[in-house]
Amino acid sequence: MEIMIMLIAVSTMVALIFLVGFIWSARKGQFDDLVTPAVRILDEDS
């Protein structure tokens, strides 16, 4: 069942990549304002 290890490793890596993405977003202030974006997309120019 060593294949499980490989799968776990790959999946964990992917999950870690997502975690890094999450931390990057938090630090860049992507979560500062979770109200305005929902409204902003509605009034595009086109």
Binding site: L19, F22, I23, A26, F31, V35, T36, V39, R40, D43
Partner: protein, 746 residues
């Protein structure tokens, strides 16, 4: 929802002084979030931002204003961030354009433009997110051990355990840091706090689990650890969400003028308010607020001290007379000399903002946690001794330390109170901190102010002691319509009731209209002189009542009465039925006494009280052992509120500032005060139920641990489940409670 907020587009009229002060770079810096050679970023608080059209319009600012690179709106907080080129006059241009668009920025300097809070918020997201990530993955890696049962074989078990350890590291070192910090601080000051046993539990869990993985013996509890920390963080951030900041975070300084015109070196110039010094000569226009104790140098001062003493009658001051801070000039422009520097002004002292005062339950809980910790440690030691002081005994002793973690204990209050705050806010009652819900629940005596609290401030009723004849109605109406004063409004209604239906609006011309604050108003109507005002002003005689004069002859006398708010008397009745004592402390005359008789006993009604008297009377009640809440209109009563246990403000304007108040109730909702109080009592009862549930879990855990039946599986089930139960129960039940209690929402 934000879209439902009642903010209104306001175009603020700015004075020349204000335009001048805006060019002062020191003034501008208060609004700068970032600056370098290439760019400058401003943050403006714009109260009239309220909807999606505002977002669209304001974010198009670069199209209309030269030099602006981009503009972003934060709908939730009503903020606008603008980046522009750093050139001279850019700031003023921006303000001008925003004014023109109808989105006037609030230029009162305040230190809190969302900077510090956003960093804090980000940190919270990261800690909770990392904790959640680790929790999910540690669960993944722990399950095979539970589910595999028989040997996983091939060294898998070891691999998974090490993976658990690795993924638990961020939780322990990063996400738990806030808990450790607060526990350590409390420990240093030898103050009991519920964070101490929690931190202890986390540490024991971690060390125990690491040891078992590294030594290869015993079972690790990483899943319990990560679950625990995650739920704790979620619970705490739930409570901390600052949606009531809109209501509470207006600074003291909002009521101060932006800038002042002073005479320096013989010239008149505008300076920021903060630079006012003792002996400065400064100008004050009509509507201006006296910032420091001063004396009049030139001009006629008519000061409204309502904000300070509650007195509605304005006072006349002559040259050389002292004027206290807080008065508002109602006459024309005057010159004053400051008698002290601005820094330590009386007003600022009086208006120190409401701090979080711990509730009784919190104090109890903190004390309990101290005992709790000692109890756990001794139980653990006892277990160790009882079971023979060997490896197995150590295992059980540690198990006790683990399951005794009072995380559910720590969660019950924040979650219930957080939900309760939301529920109340939806219904027009804004509570500053959770602890105040408990204080409101315990209140057994309520002190009311009258004007503006029990009565309307902008509407009045009244009756005639001398009715004018039909012929005089039209010219009187013509005059009265020019004024927005509450007495005038009331008179207008009374006069309109009297005239016959055929007549509509008067066609008579009105000329030379003049309103004299504190006295009355006059004009020439169709050639005749019409005056309406106080008896003193019209006739020179003392006495009450509003006289209506036509052509020099008094044709009517009107006695305005305060108008009690709808339903307020019922509310008073309900409060009395609930066993709450009531009293009235008013700075006004006692003319409205009959209105309230029957609801309040005579001994409990005091009139013409100064703020100091009010405060004293409240202190008497407090010393008599009562839990006192003071309901007032915020500004005038702030001294009194400080002496009470709970200050409830009914603001005079929408979104008005209310220092020293712990609760703000919208004026339309004041009649539900008894309901709010009852709801708070139910919410508090909820907390005790949650605490009981969590203690039961603790006891169950202790029994299991003592008898050696604790396994990682049991732990992993018990702890998140107890946390989840509390979470669902406190939030869900409180929410249901609110719905059943108040009916469906607003």
């Amino acid at each position: 929802m934000v879209e439902d907020s009642k903010r209104v587009q306001v175009q603020v009229l700015r004075t020349d002084d204000q335009w001048e002060i805006m060019q002062n770079p020191a003034f501008e810096e208060a609004f700068v979030k970032y600056r370098d050679q290439a760019r400058v970023q401003y943050v403006f608080l714009i109260p009239s931002i309220h909807c999606r059209a505002c977002v669209w319009l304001l974010e198009k600012l670069p199209s209309w204003v030269e030099g602006v690179s981009w503009a972003r709106v934060n709908l939730d907080q009503g903020l606008l961030e603008v980046e522009a080129m750093p050139r001279e006059g850019q700031f003023v241009d921006l303000v001008r354009h925003l004014d023109r668009l109808g989105y006037s920025p609030d230029l009162h300097p305040t230190k809190n433009r969302g900077d510090g809070s956003s960093l804090e918020l980000r940190r919270q997201w990261m800690m909770t997110g990392v904790a959640g990530f680790c929790f999910g993955n540690v669960m993944l890696f722990s399950f095979p051990e539970y589910l595999g049962g028989e040997a996983l074989g091939d060294g898998f078990e070891n691999v998974f355990r090490w993976l658990c350890l690795i993924f638990a590291l961020p939780t322990f070192f990063y996400s738990s840091s806030s808990i450790f910090r607060s526990a350590f601080l409390s420990f240093k000051e030898w103050k009991p706090s519920v964070d101490i046993p929690i931190a202890l539990g986390i540490i024991v869990l971690f060390v125990w689990s690491c040891t078992s993985v590294i030594l290869g013996r015993g079972t690790p509890y990483f899943d319990s650890l990560c679950g625990l920390v995650f739920f704790l963080l979620v619970g705490r951030s739930y409570q901390r969400k600052s949606f009531t900041h809109l209501v509470f975070e207006r600074d003291n300084h909002r009521f101060f003028p932006l800038s002042l015109s002073v005479i320096r070196k013989g010239k008149r110039e505008a300076i920021p308010l903060s630079e006012l010094k003792c002996s400065d000569h400064y100008f004050l226009k009509s509507g201006g607020l006296v910032p420091v104790r001063s004396h009049l140098v030139k001009g006629e001062g008519v000061f409204d001290f309502r904000m300070v003493t509650g007195e509605t009658e304005p006072q006349l001051k002559h040259v050389e007379e002292r004027v206290h801070a807080g008065g508002i000039q109602r006459g024309g422009e005057i010159l004053l000399e400051a008698e002290e520097d601005l820094d330590e002004s009386e007003l600022v002292r009086m208006w120190g903002g409401g701090e979080e005062r711990p509730s009784r339950r919190e104090e109890i809980l903190d004390r309990i946690s101290g005992v709790f910790t000692l109890v756990i440690l001794s139980l653990s030691g006892f277990t160790f001794y009882w079971h023979g002081m060997d490896g197995e005994a150590l295992h059980r002793a540690c198990a006790i330390l683990i399951v005794a973690c009072p995380c559910a204990l720590a969660l019950s209050a924040p979650l219930t109170l957080g939900k309760a705050i939301r529920a109340l806010a939806d219904r027009g009652c804004f509570v500053r901190y959770g602890a105040m819900i408990e204080t409101l629940a315990e209140t057994d005596h309520v002190v009311f102010d009258k004007t503006g609290t029990l009565t309307h401030i902008d509407r009045m009723s009244g009756e005639w002691s001398e009715k004018p004849l039909g012929s005089s109605i039209e010219p009187l109406l013509a005059l009265i319509q020019q004024s927005g004063h509450p007495v005038a409004q009331s008179l207008k209604v009374a006069l309109e009731d009297m005239r016959s239906n055929t007549q509509t609006s008067p066609e008579d011309s009105v000329e030379h209209f003049m309103e004299h604050p504190g006295k009355g108003m006059e004009a020439m109507v169709a050639g005749k002189k019409v005056r309406v005002g106080s008896r003193v002003w019209i006739s020179g005689q003392a006495g009450s009542g509003v006289c209506l004069e036509l052509d020099g002859e008094i044709v009517g006398v009107y006695n305005p009465r305060s108008l009690l708010r709808d339903g307020i008397l019922d509310s008073l009745e309900s409060l009395k039925e609930d066993g709450v004592g009531l009293s009235l402390l008013s700075g006004d005359h006692n003319r409205d006494e009959e209105l309230l008789r029957g609801y309040l006993s005579a001994e409990e009604m005091h009139f013409e009280c100064s703020p100091e008297v009010k405060a004293r009377k409240i202190r008497e009640k407090v010393e008599a052992g009562k839990r006192v809440a003071m309901v007032g209109d915020g500004l005038n009563d702030s001294l009194a509120m400080k002496s009470s246990h709970l200050g409830i403000a009914v603001p005079l304007e929408d979104g008005c500032f209310a220092p020293n108040s712990d609760v703000i109730i919208q004026e339309s909702e004041l009649r539900r005060l008894h309901e709010f109080r009852k709801f708070c009592r139910l919410a508090v009862r909820n907390i005790w139920v949650c605490l009981t549930i969590s203690l039961l879990y603790n006891m169950l855990g202790f029994i299991l641990a003592f008898s050696g039946r604790i396994s990682p599986m049991v732990c992993a089930v018990l702890m998140p489940i107890s946390a989840l139960t509390i979470l669902i129960y406190s939030v869900g039940w409180t929410g249901l409670l609110a719905k059943r209690f108040f009916g469906r929402g607003q």
